[in-house]
Symmetry: C2
Subunit: 456 residues, 2 copies
């Protein structure tokens, strides 16, 4: 009954080296989350379908993995849908559960469900996999981890300040110097829409403006006109095309461009507050940049919008993002809970660190010393030493079989084990160990105490 | 569109304290795995259905969660099954993927799929959730974590010895003293079957024998007769009813009982080898016990069988188990790969540690110091200090809003934050911090250096 084994497309096996590298990133993110006062929660991998459906738009609903009911599920199938052979219509009657699509909606559900146990403001982090029935492509998978930190229950802008510091802390810890933390504000985008005189054209406008570097001012304007953005609006926003210089001078320009929009000005003020604080506090290696074209999930955010770009020498989409949303829990009937949060894109960060060679050499080091097995008597003597080594925090193991010496040494080489210990009759008699450094080839006859010292 | 939010039955939300306690267990297990030379792998949450189906028996197949195909899945539905409205028959045509049911079959699939990259013997560990559509009950969930360590590619009994040490190491590290590691051997069970003269009665025999302590010898024999175990067989195995004493004396009795069974004697020899090594090496807090009634997943194991019981003062099923299986990868067409492994039952270990009060008090300590927010100027000054504290590894945060002092202090109390720092005009002027110990109530005016020292 042999089968050629494989895994579903868009999913991955991780070998020991990959797990170690992923954990290196997870641990750095987790440490920073905790240092900043975030507390971990975990939610189930699948939720009731009605918790998830309708929360991510039509496209999202399609991409949610549904779990088939157990047992004779057809006995409760919607008869009409069954007769019509209508898949979409049938689904709710044969599937009650669905795999988590992101961590935000389950978090909102968690906050509402446990609101009486939670002390607000609630700073939570969550590092768990999510699943999407997306078409797999480079860097896009059907199962991937999200690493989210959010605060709910406060509108304070100090949180935006802290999230920028948090990004800086994590990427500095990962030695990924030179990331750009782009920031915008939904209210500025609303202001721009007001000035255009057509809020339904806002996305077209920002998408076109975003191409300024690539295709130049004239082409951008052409595209805007093609998208039915009125010439008068483009004229009014002319200064946006020459919005260069540092954060403060951009703020100044925006103030004059958006002078007629109360909401727009509010957004500018918020950015100014955040930028001033960051200037005072300083960033280790990241750069904060105002980017009025930044719009991510426009309908979702209500205040600050963040996106992090990898250093300029790496071609990669955003490696993190987030923002403020003023009605996270409204979908579950709990009003007026403002939230703000950020997310780290594990898979992309992994690719960037790999490309730049930033994983520490020791990251996937596992076993430190292998004892060669010369037979049962020697093995028992070895295991006594191994026990002591392990108690001293050294990862040690015995080759399980008394195989040929060459085979065992090859095993040590292939696994890149740095030390090998040889125990024969002579060593047992003198209660000593022959320690071989697999890199230098150096060989020593040592006591257990020296063994521990040398390996450590 | 308010919904009363809930989660699917058999699943759980974990709050920060629970996550911290679970991680405490995970970390102890993971550390021990690594010290013993096991390397981590991870496999996808869902596998192709044909990887999983048929591997766990009929009952298992029923309990596997199936994932509905995306899109217009009915267009490819098995027409005959559809017309018959036969759920079981329809499933394979509308569901190609299924959630992982355990970690063993995906591991077997991994080994076969990656056999050319793996250096054998391969010692892997895997800590990931699995899903079963079981009826939920106390301590049994539809989503739960398994923590497995296995070695494949060697038949050496030293591995059984090491797994016993590994159990002892983990439970000793968790301060769970007095667990019993029960051991048996499939070959001894085969020997017993031979002696009974009816191998199909083996399970009935061991199930009945297992009740010896509870119902006494006469009742056990009655039950055996009722199950059609011949009187002659019961007579031959009479010594099993008085199998008491230590490991060595039990071995002795077994040798004479199973004298006529070559396979049985082989099993006894294996146990003897393992026990002798463990006697030489010593266990920290666990006790190794021979238990001939131990049969877990009989058809699966071919050599040693393990099961770990919680200390006697706690009522709890097994908190770990495992054994040797000589044909792990055969189902995927790779022959002659012997494996041996053990598993830790996270949820039950959690319940035991909770019941015995064995979680360290500091396990769920998160934030160490909260800065009270008196306004923007003070907040900015505070954030500078917080930055320094965090760089020194101290978990620190600012209350995000300049709320009433009492509210902020209450927040610190409810979250059991041990220190609070107050920064007002005066502190800013003198570049000092008022540190309040929330437990003793003690209050000090200190420099940043002293602040770090006091909190650490």
């Amino acid at each position: 009954m042999a089968q050629k084994p494989s895994i579903p497309k868009g999913t991955r096996d991780f070998n020991p080296e990959q797990v170690a590298k992923r954990n290196y990133i997870f641990n750095n993110i987790r440490n920073a989350f905790q240092t900043f006062g975030f507390q971990p929660i975990e939610t189930p991998s699948f939720e009731n379908s009605d918790t998830l459906m309708g929360k991510y738009g039509e496209e999202g609903d399609r991409l949610i993995f549904k779990i088939l009911n157990s047992g004779d599920y057809l006995s409760k199938a919607n008869t009409e849908a069954y007769d019509e052979k209508n898949s979409n219509k049938l689904t709710p009657s044969i599937s009650e559960k669905a795999l988590r699509y992101d961590l935000t909606v389950p978090f909102a559900r968690y906050v509402v469900q446990h609101q009486n146990e939670i002390e607000f403001p609630f700073k939570r982090y969550q590092i768990q996999p999510v699943w999407r029935a997306d078409r797999p492509q480079k860097g896009r998978f059907r199962e991937f981890f999200q690493c989210d930190a959010d605060v709910v229950g406060s509108k304070s802008l100090w949180q935006e300040v802290e999230f920028i510091q948090l990004y800086d802390t994590v990427f500095s810890a990962l030695k990924l110097d030179g990331v750009t933390i782009k920031i915008n504000n939904r209210k500025i985008l609303s202001g721009i829409a007001e000035v255009i005189g057509a809020s339904d054209k806002l996305i077209d406008f920002t998408v076109a403006l975003d191409k300024l570097d690539k295709i130049g001012e004239e082409k951008v304007k052409e595209e805007m006109l093609k998208k039915d953005i009125p010439q008068s609006g483009i004229d009014k926003l002319q200064p946006l095309f020459s919005l260069t210089g540092n954060f403060e001078s951009q703020i100044k320009s925006l103030k004059s461009i958006l002078a007629s929009s109360t909401e727009g000005l509010k957004g500018v003020e918020e950015l100014q507050f955040i930028n001033k604080a960051i200037q005072e506090l300083g960033l280790k290696t990241a750069v904060l940049q105002l980017d009025v074209t930044l719009a991510r999930g426009l309908n979702y955010y209500t205040g600050a919008i963040f996106e992090v770009s990898a250093p300029k020498n790496v071609k990669m989409g955003s490696i993190g993002g987030g923002g403020r949303y003023d009605d996270l829990t409204g979908i579950f009937g709990m009003k007026d809970v403002s939230g703000v949060g950020i997310s780290f894109g594990l898979d992309r960060i992994y690719l960037v660190l790999e490309e730049l060679g930033l994983f520490p050499e020791t990251v996937s080091k596992n076993i430190e010393v292998l004892f060669i097995n010369f037979g049962d008597k020697e093995a028992l003597f070895s295991l006594k030493a191994i026990k002591t080594l392990r108690e001293n925090g050294i990862n040690a193991e015995l080759y399980p079989d008394a195989a040929k010496m060459k085979k065992q040494m090859n095993h040590a080489n292939k696994r890149e084990i740095p030390f090998v210990v040889l125990v024969g009759e002579q060593e047992i008699e003198s209660n000593n160990y022959t320690l071989k450094n697999m890199v230098s080839g150096e060989q020593d006859n040592v006591s257990i105490t020296t063994l521990i010292e040398k390996i450590k």
